[in-house]
């Protein structure tokens, strides 16, 4: 059950997990596992959700972050800029088990932002003259040719924040910000996993990166449950 106060969005993780289902389009913030929400990803694994379309910068590492969803074969399609750090993604792609749409990283970020801020697309010249332009409409503006890049949204977007207030205002930790503020805007339902949840009003409005209006639910993080690649 939701809390009585509509501006108190903190829920038990069980309630958040009710919104994950087979075949859904899931967008995940993070970069190489940094900024992936560990407890929500574990919840998806434990709930046996499968046939996901994953929109994420990358597929992380085999046992880190969203990489685990690929390793456990819960993903049928991925839109990402890079899968190289997760050999399972490459192997599944080669075997025809995982469909991969590659998108240049900055363009992926802008497509997610476009979806998140209600734009119909963006124009960019990145990838012109390469296979990245295939299938994209060309638009000429002021004599210059651009590719029309379409917006991306998702049924559920999950993000990892350092600190959230109960309203969903978010602050991120260092480079774990990366795709998270963009992904937070692009979910039809946005679920935040926060390391720390504080009372509304405790965050300095000047420091808030994501305004709570984009956030639907907040769950308490149990913290990272993997070893980083550099931890040897």
């Amino acid at each position: 059950m939701r809390n009585q106060n509509p501006f108190d969005k903190v829920v038990p993780i069980e309630e958040a997990l009710r919104h994950f289902h087979d075949g859904m389009v899931l967008m995940v913030g993070g970069f190489g596992g940094v900024g992936n929400p560990p407890s929500l990803i574990q919840g998806i694994l434990d709930k046996n959700v499968k046939d996901l379309t994953l929109i994420s910068n990358d597929t992380a590492f085999p046992q880190i972050g969203v990489g685990k969803l690929v390793t456990e074969r819960r993903v049928k399609r991925v839109i990402a800029s890079h899968i190289g750090s997760n050999p399972n993604a490459g192997a599944q792609m080669t075997a025809g088990e995982l469909e991969v749409e590659f998108c240049p990283q900055g363009i992926l970020a802008e497509r997610i932002r476009a979806g998140g801020v209600g734009l119909g697309g963006i124009l960019s010249d990145i990838g012109i003259g390469t296979i990245a332009e295939e299938g994209k409409q060309k638009v000429t503006v002021g004599g210059k040719t651009y590719l029309l890049e379409t917006p991306l949204t998702a049924e559920v977007a999950i993000v990892h924040a350092k600190r959230a207030d109960r309203l969903g205002n978010l602050i991120y930790d260092t480079s774990a910000r990366n795709f998270n503020p963009l992904v937070a805007m692009a979910g039809d339902l946005t679920i935040v996993e926060a390391d720390e949840i504080v009372e509304t009003g405790e965050l300095d409005p000047e420091e808030i990166v994501t305004p709570g209006v984009f956030v639907d639910m907040i769950v308490q993080s149990e913290g990272v449950n993997w070893r980083w690649a550099w931890e040897k």
């Binding site: 940094v34 750090s85 080669t94 970020a109």
Partner: protein
């Protein structure tokens, strides 16, 4: 860097990185790719003011932290923990790439699978074999003011990676300015690829013989040791 091995005589990777560092001017904003490019930071004189850009959302990365001092969230784009220099800032991925596309990045230093004599770079896909994805390489190669490629001269099968025409899918067209390999330093100009220096002990003949692309000469070829 090490990985535990005993410090040997300078490797070809280190020499490439040392040569590359000479190209870095005071005040530059620089993005270093994974592999040999990462080593370049070790060879930049301390008195030079440079800021390193990491496309995962940092301007102003510093050296690796001491063991035990890592913040797992504070990493470079290769996923390794970093520190910050004074004046560093964090931002989301759209701003990270806005910096690149807007022309604020003075130099990007990349690896490559192939580079053509016109400066086309292929470095993100070997169809059917290795398909890591382009990551941020397309933006970096296409939009950095200066693009420096650091690579071995030959691939694992002994074939020239410096070619007339790339056979692999491109990262970006006509973008490379300078190519530094274990054999040579080459510059892409509007009228072709010029051999500027050979890496000791290779001769001009060795380099031309090992290079599929046409190498032009403009005066004396230097020797880098």
């Amino acid at each position: 860097m090490g990985m535990g091995e005993v410090k040997q005589a300078e490797s070809y990777r280190e020499r490439i990185a040392r040569r590359a560092a000479q190209e870095i001017a005071d005040g530059m904003i620089i993005n270093l790719g994974i592999g040999i490019p990462t080593l370049v930071a070790d060879y930049i004189p301390k008195e030079k003011h440079v800021l390193f850009h990491a496309e995962n959302g940092i301007l102003g990365t510093g050296p690796s932290p001491a063991p035990g001092e890592e913040n797992p969230n504070l990493c470079n784009a290769g996923g390794f923990p970093v520190t910050l220099v004074r004046g560093a800032s964090f931002f989301d991925s759209t701003t990270a790439f806005g910096i690149i596309r807007r022309g604020k990045l003075d130099m990007t230093i990349l690896g490559a699978l192939e580079v053509s004599e016109r400066g086309d770079i292929a470095n993100w896909i070997v169809p059917g074999k290795r398909v890591p994805g382009m990551g941020g390489a397309m933006e970096l190669a296409q939009k950095a003011k200066k693009v420096m490629v650091l690579t071995t001269h030959l691939d694992k099968n002994g074939r020239s990676k410096i070619v007339r025409e790339c056979s692999l899918p491109l990262t970006a067209k006509a973008c490379a300015n300078l190519i530094i390999t274990d054999m040579a330093v080459m510059q892409v100009r509007s009228d072709g690829l010029y051999l500027l220096e050979v890496m000791h002990p290779y001769t001009v003949g060795d380099v031309i013989g090992a290079t599929e692309a046409e190498l032009k000469l403009d005066g004396e070829v230097g020797v880098y040791r």
